[in-house]
Every structure is written in C-alpha cells, then in structure tokens.
Amino acid sequence: MTIKTDQQQNKCALCRKLIKEQQEDKSAIHAEVIDGTSYTFDKNECMLMFKRLRSVYGAEFENSLVPHEQFVSDPFWNRAIPTVQEIKDIEIEKKAAGEEERVLAKQNTIKLIEDPDEIQRTAVDIGTAAKDEVLIIFSTPNAFHRQERLGGIQALKEAVEKRGINARILTPKDESIENTVRTLMQQGKHPKIEMRYIEPSLQSQVTTLIVDRKSSLVVELKDDTKESIYEAIGLGIYSNRKATVLSYVSIFESLWKQTELHEQLETLYEQLKIHDQMQKEFINVAAHELRTPIQPIIGLAEILRSKKDMITTSRDVYDEYLSIIIRNARRLKELTDNILDVARIESQSMKLNKQKADIPSLILQAIQESIENQTNIINHNVKLMYNPSRKNDESNIVLSVDKGRIIQVITNLISNAIAFTKKGVISITKETRMEEDGSSVIVTLKDTGSGIDPQILPRLFTKFTTRSEKGTGLGLYICKRIIEAHGGKIWGENNDDEGATFGFSLPIATIR
C-alpha cells in the first residue's frame, strides 16, 4: 500500500499522506499537515480509503494500482474524495456503526442492510456476541471460501475453542473445503465445530447465520464468481424477531437432519456396493469351483464309456479313472453342502440336531473323515497328531451337541490346516478351561504351515474370505456360525514361530 515517492519523504501512493516509519515495529503511520494541523492515520484508515477508491473505480483501480502505484496515484488522487471530507466520512461511519449496534441491540428488529461492509461488520458483531451456539448455512462453496479468506472461519474456530460455544456449519462442498475441514478437525482440541455437506442440489442463493437462536443474518448472493465479498454479495437482512429467527433455525435443523440421512444413505450405498461386488465375486468363484470338478467327471466317464471293451484288460487304469471321478464328485458335494449351509444360515433355518456326545470321539470321527478325503495325509506329507489324553479328564465330558455339525467344524479346520501345510505337523489338543462365565471345552489345531495372511486376518471368519487357490471363503464362516449356535467361540491366530492355531470353545454349563 505504501511507496517511497520522494527521497526525503515517504508518501502513501494511495492517500498521498506522509509516512513515518516507526523503527520499533516497522508499521507505517501516515501523517499529513493540512491547514496547519497534523493528522495521523493508521493502516486501517488507509484501507478504508482504498476500499472507497475501489468502490468508485472498480477492479481497474486494484489491478493497476499494485504494479504502478506511482503512475496511477496522481489521476486517482485528483478524482478521489479530499482527505478532510474523508475524515469526516470516517467520523460519520463510526457514528453510524454506533447507531447500528444500538439497532441490533433493539428487540424485535428487522433491518435491511445494503452496504456489503456493514453486512460483514454485522456478521462479525453478532458472531462475536454468541454465547452458546452459531449456525451457518453457506450458499455456495465460494461463499465459504470468501469467509475463510476474511478470517471468519478462523474467528469462529477461536470462539469455539476459547468460549466453548457450539458451531454447526452446512455448506456445499468442493475439494478445498474438505481440506479445511480436515485441518479444522485435526487442530481443534474441542471438536465443537461440526460440519456437514449439503447436497449440491440443495444449494441456495443466500448465506444464513443464526446466533443463539436469537438473531439471524441472511445475505443474498449477487455474483458468486467474484472473489471479494464487496462484489459477491447483495442485500443483507438482519433480524432478532423470534418468529423469523426460529424459522431459520428450523430450516437449518431440517437441512442438518437431511444431510445426516443423506450421509447415512451414502454409507449404506457404499456398503451395498461392496456387498454386491462380493456377491458377484462369489458367483464367479462359485461358478469356477462348481464347474471345475464337473470336467473330470464328464470327461473320464465319456472316456470309460468309449473303452467299455478294454476295461477288463487294464484294471489299474479303470481304478485310477474312477478315483478321479469320485474325488471330484466329493469336491462338488462339499461345495454344494457349503452353499446350502450358507443359504440356511442366512435364512436362519439352520437347525441343530443335538445329541449326547463326548468331544474325543467327535475329534476321532473328524480325523477319520479327513484321512479318507485328504491325499496329503495318506501320502505322509502331513502328520496329524492327536492324543485322546488322560482318563478322568473333564474334557471327556459328555455334551449335548449336533454331532454332525461339530465334526463338520473339526474336519473343516483340519482340511484348512492341510491346505496350508503342504508338509509338516498338525496337532489337535483339547482341554477344559474355567472362565468367569462358566467352564468350556476347548479344542485347538496347531499347524506348521504358511500361517494366516495378515491381510485377511481381520475378516477371517467373514463370508467369501479366502487365500486358498481353491476356496470359496465359506468354510470358516460356516464354522463360526455353527460354533456360535452352540454358544461357543471360534478364533484363529498365527503362531510365534510358524503356522497358525485355530481353536473353538463349547460351554459346558449351557450345553449340558
């Protein structure tokens, strides 16, 4: 704003007043001798002058002033309001501002404000007087940014932090608002500024400020493309009439609520999309897993039919073909059973057929089934260890469970352990554990395999979670639901050295 126009004297290019630089704080003080009297001005007054000049000459003034202060100063000076007059104006303005305060303080008032400067002043005045709550609806993202540049947002943040008032802001969003909000949220020790985004279609032509549910200021938007508030805004209506203010409050609250619903809807929509994606992925995986075993069954059956006469001659080939067919038929059966189980679980029609059974015999049956189905055990690549344990062990207790379902869980855990332990040891143990809510029988399977992928660990028991090359991600989900239906818990974790341990508990008291 200031420039040295003379070697001897520092003059303000704008108001042409003399500038006396204060050594201590470097801030400029303008001084001039008019009619033998010395006047001093601070920067703010010069700023007022600047605004006045701009209001007369528009953007041209600002654009040409900055690069060419010296050049433009004379013609502008000649056309501008004389200093004496300006001082008078300032005095009048100050007086007017005083009256304005009195108007604002008067009860049951509605005031139409035309001067953008006064609108902004009123906003600051009623905002700083807030004792309890500030509500703002911005018309456009730019309205938010204009206020941000003028320091309004920062002032509000300070008011919230220092005076403990609550503030809620509704604004249509753009990318940089999101950044501001993020910083506001990070910096704020008192998270009392809440912000929500209005859907663009709900964006309005007025910015509304409501303070303490007692006063409101509604400001029209004139030209949203303008950066300066003086050019961007139109009329302002101040009111402290109860009927008006409370109507604005209810508009705010309904928009606030609607935005909340909208946000919830968006979250739900995102979840639905994820679910939909998972369903699609499941169909892809299921299609692949269901069709793959069909190929050897059809293919080898066709080959066998074409070789009817030769079968007797090569018994071994015949056996090999048949065992491939049977193995794939079993794969198909397992998968269809799993898919049907999931359907039963989701329609809540999985019924437990409880019978008396002891855990050791269920473990033994599960091992027996696994040996029949798992080639890796037969090939001795994987050693399955189980010690039915000491006599009088309480874990041999007879429980009332759905035997088939518990065997299904143990078999599933064994088959997973084998799938991830190409070569190694799987040991099964059982014990009784006393806990606050009663005692349980615990069965654990510890393997020396590749362990659980950390990526899937958090959603291990969720549907469609798989890291296996041949897996639909249904097995552990079904296991969890079966164990939970028995009132127990299931878990899985990586061992410190290698492999993983899976376990489940069945409460004794509740089942017996």
Partner: protein, 143 residues
C-alpha cells in the same frame, strides 16, 4: 503331472501329426484332457495322431517352454500366479507360430473377453466341455 519334453529327438516328432501343450492348474482336468485326446488317436488313422503335454504350474510351463515344438497351446484363463493371457503373451514372444485356445470354467463373457484380450480369440472353450467336442475343436484349430 508334468511331462518332460524331449525336443532333441526330431524323429520322434514325425511320429505325431501335431503336438499340443495344455496348461491348467487343476491336475484332474489336465489328466482328463490328455487321456481323452490321446485315446482319440486310436480312433483315427495314425497320420493324425496328437501328442499331449501338460503342466499344472504356469510358471514351470513357461520356463520349460521349447519354441517350434508345439502346434497348439490350450490354456486355462483363471490360474494362480499367472493367468492364461499373461502366459500366452509370454509364450507368443518365444514362439510366434503356436496357435492358442483359451479355456475357462469361470463366468466369462466373450464380449468382455474381447476387450481384455483382442488378439487370437478365435478359439475359446468353456469348461466343462464334452470330450468329443473338445477333440473336434482342437482338430479344427490344428487343420
């Protein structure tokens, strides 16, 4: 289930009409296809015998691949570590003359497939496939 390729013996190649390489991660499928295709040799005259080599690990199939040895590549699309398109691209770099048939048991839309892989989509086989149809399709491709 991996076959060793004896590329040194050119005389051996003459005993067969064509050689095909099947890559599928499911061992039962490669066994079935090998048996089916080689058994069909007995039905036709000896001039049109097909020799089948199989791999269940696409990485091994690639590292052991011999150029100018195979006439047709029958490759599964959904495989771990390297999918059918990727391996096909690498194999075509080694041997531009080998023909390619893709196969899949997944939900694959041919239109979508054409977008992903616009080249050589002349041959696509959906699993499960009838053995007669498979052999017919392969022979048509080899002719």
């Amino acid at each position: 289930m991996t076959s060793q390729i004896d590329a040194t013996s050119t005389s051996k190649k003459e005993r067969f009409w064509k050689r095909i390489l099947i890559i599928d991660d499911d061992a039962d499928i490669t066994t079935t296809f090998k048996l089916g295709i080689e058994d069909a040799n007995g039905d036709t005259n000896n001039n049109r015998r097909i020799e089948v080599h199989t791999y269940n690990d696409p990485t091994a199939a690639l590292s052991e691949f011999q150029p100018n040895f195979f006439d047709l590549l029958l490759v599964d699309i959904n495989m771990p570590h390297m999918n059918g398109f990727q391996i096909c691209e690498k194999i075509l770099e080694l041997d531009i003359n080998v023909r390619v048939c893709f196969m899949s048991s997944g939900e694959i839309n041919r239109e979508a497939l054409r977008e992903i892989y616009p080249v050589s989509l002349g041959c696509f086989i959906k699993k499960p496939v009838n053995m007669d149809y498979l052999i017919e399709r392969i022979k048509a491709e080899l002719d």
